[in-house]
Symmetry: C2
Subunit: 491 residues, 2 copies
Amino acid sequence: MGTDAYGQIGELAKEVSLLSSMGSLLSWDQEIFLPKHGLPFRAEQQAYLSGTSHRLWTDPKTGEMIEEALSQVDHGSDEEVNLVRWKRDFERASCLPVELVEKSAREEAKAHEAWKSAREANQFSMFSESLETLIEIAKEKANHWGYEDSPYDALLEIYEPGLKVRDLNPLFGQVASELTSICEKAFRQEQPEPLPPGPYPLEKQKELNRKVAEAVGFDFERGRMDVSVHPFSSGMGPHDNRITTRYDEADFTSSLSAILHEAGHGMYEQGLNPDAFATPLGESVSLGIHESQSRFWENQIGRSEAFWQSWYPTILEYFPSLQGYGPEKLAAFVNQVQRSFIRVDASEIGYDLHVILRFEVEEKIFSGELKVDEVPIFWNDRFKEMIGLEVPDDAHGCLQDIHWSMGGFGYFPTYTLGSINAAMLYEAVTHELGDLAPYVAKQDYAPIQNFLKEKIHRQGRRYLPNELIEFATGSKQSARPMLNYFAKKVG
Amino acid sequence: MGTDAYGQIGELAKEVSLLSSMGSLLSWDQEIFLPKHGLPFRAEQQAYLSGTSHRLWTDPKTGEMIEEALSQVDHGSDEEVNLVRWKRDFERASCLPVELVEKSAREEAKAHEAWKSAREANQFSMFSESLETLIEIAKEKANHWGYEDSPYDALLEIYEPGLKVRDLNPLFGQVASELTSICEKAFRQEQPEPLPPGPYPLEKQKELNRKVAEAVGFDFERGRMDVSVHPFSSGMGPHDNRITTRYDEADFTSSLSAILHEAGHGMYEQGLNPDAFATPLGESVSLGIHESQSRFWENQIGRSEAFWQSWYPTILEYFPSLQGYGPEKLAAFVNQVQRSFIRVDASEIGYDLHVILRFEVEEKIFSGELKVDEVPIFWNDRFKEMIGLEVPDDAHGCLQDIHWSMGGFGYFPTYTLGSINAAMLYEAVTHELGDLAPYVAKQDYAPIQNFLKEKIHRQGRRYLPNELIEFATGSKQSARPMLNYFAKKVG
């Protein structure tokens, strides 16, 4: 039962969630619809919302109410779980001086423009000054938040609570070394037969994607699907979660993969407990867990032969020109492994090397081992070692991703944590249900979805991410299942 | 120059405009995209925004600051104009007890459901109880606001500042009587040749509409065009104004007319002074002026033969099956006059009789001459007199429009004020530029648009609506130009 102080914090959290849900709609609209000249005012709207939230949430009274409520609720109760998380959120938010938050937003806006120009001009040096500024700001934030070993730990904490460099280094070291060998083998294998040239009309792809998303469990009465330049997923309320994709009329599998990925994110949000909305127990726990949901549906399910066998008759209805190609070739096509300079175009196997490379760069920057102007050379050398390609220029190298320009240091590792967690969850579901292929073959996804809902979605932020994985799978977080899965694929 | 108090009110108004612009986006999204189960949370978001605005704006300190600033700014300055309008807004908003505002929102939500059910069941009595409640609430509001002659005046003031029943009665009385005769003549005329059966593919209609909207002056870098069940126009920032339409594949002229109408609204918003954003001088003045802009482009321009002559070659590119039909027949088709039960389907000539009938009903309700349960009989009798049709049931009669269910008493008259103002503006532009047909024939709309921008849009709320019309046209508001225009059309 809520006490009075607990009730007051709940009201405050509700208000903050109203503000942030509106911010989500503004962002969603900005990605898809906002007219060109609408941008500056949209930025003012967003600044107003985040400023108001920050002010409400970091009011010293909030901290006092949390302490008061903590002294009143039952030990071990859900209320206590919420309060412990709220306390952490409050403390992290309150650590930062307002001037630093504002400076950070201002410099990120500038850096974003600098990054765009640098990428267009294909010249890292045009971005390096902005990057240095953002790194300095990130270090300042880390100092305010505090850390044991490395300022990078304080940044990881933003995206993956509890994650530390000392745990990531051995984990990613193992992945980098084993995956490099697996990839070397895979890159030498024969390429599968190309997809028939299509075209695969956009409208038909949309209909097929919707059917598949609905079948795996994305609820269109509590969400929708749209078109955007970069696929994304966004929640703007307890019953309003939206996903997007982009379309390539020469290859329907790319939009379908993206939809499975985004539907995975969306189903996590839809699977949260709506009665716990606006409290930690009704919130997603981390990016690494979020990404496990998307990659599970995109890869473990969406690249399995059973999946393509089961959908082949439907696919033929939409694209009769595929007659004769067959589900086996489709499955082989979506599983092809190729070297790629660009992370977002990378094959399932090999993708994580891109991620780990950027983690290595970030980690070395924040430990002081690497200077900003040494980044391109380091990137290119290490890329050659891991992927085996000579990076021709910065746009195909260290400049390709947007994250740094948004101050997103510590974000990247969560991609590979997603892959690791997805493989662990796949083993755990298999342990529970037996071989999943017969379920997938019958498009009977509900038992799989129920497992994820019960073990992950409904837990909200009850556990820290790695504790949650242990709760859901019975095992400590490990890259073994993922590496085994990759090795088995390469055969 | 702004004084300190003036600057503070400006900041407050900016904050309120940020909140209301977000409300506009939420509404726009709700009409077009919101998933089914997203509605209750959307209502919470809207309630939060309007509650916050209301609280900010009606703080007694706001009134004190306005008085202080008024004593400091120069007489005759723009600051003074803004402060006079803000003062009126503050006083009107502060008059209403919060409980009444909340009760009103609650009862409107209920009434909206009751109206929908009543319309589906085709039975006015199912709506009459809710309607009586809303009328009582409106009367209560009117009492709080105060009025001289009739509580209805206090309601008109919401939509058309300065408008009084004592002015509307003679104005609309004249229109009703002359227009009834004009319509009688028009209804007896031969019907034009029907449009060839098409179909007119939706995508082609979209492209054509966009081209036309762009040509008349709607700026797609500061706005966009979408599809919705009911066409509407909505502004969500100084450089973000959006219009929608719906499509009928059997008749491309209906979506085109709607787009011209909504583009007229949109161009008014786009023509406001962006430097005066969030102040009265940068705001639209009334619904009757807004509607004059939409009807001007929809009717005076969009139903002229010169318009169809000029666009015919382009239209043929999109719809080659119209080859041989010719621009004269197109112009005749969009000008056909038919009796219609439903206002939104009514011909340009005749439309205003629907409006005036509802005004008469509203006026009699608020003067106490008409009881709610007498509405259907009054409606049907008067409809027979004015339009000459026997109303078969309530759905085709007094239940057809949504406005009452939203508490929108006093809104309807602004539709016909729009027609009246549009005709006056057409005469004024013609006086300035000479015959407009040669401009329209060359698709040279800029001189027309510039007149409207300078004389209407850029004036913001400097004048009251009828003063603005006199400023723009040099004449007192009169139905003569509109009645002449209709009479000339019927020949």
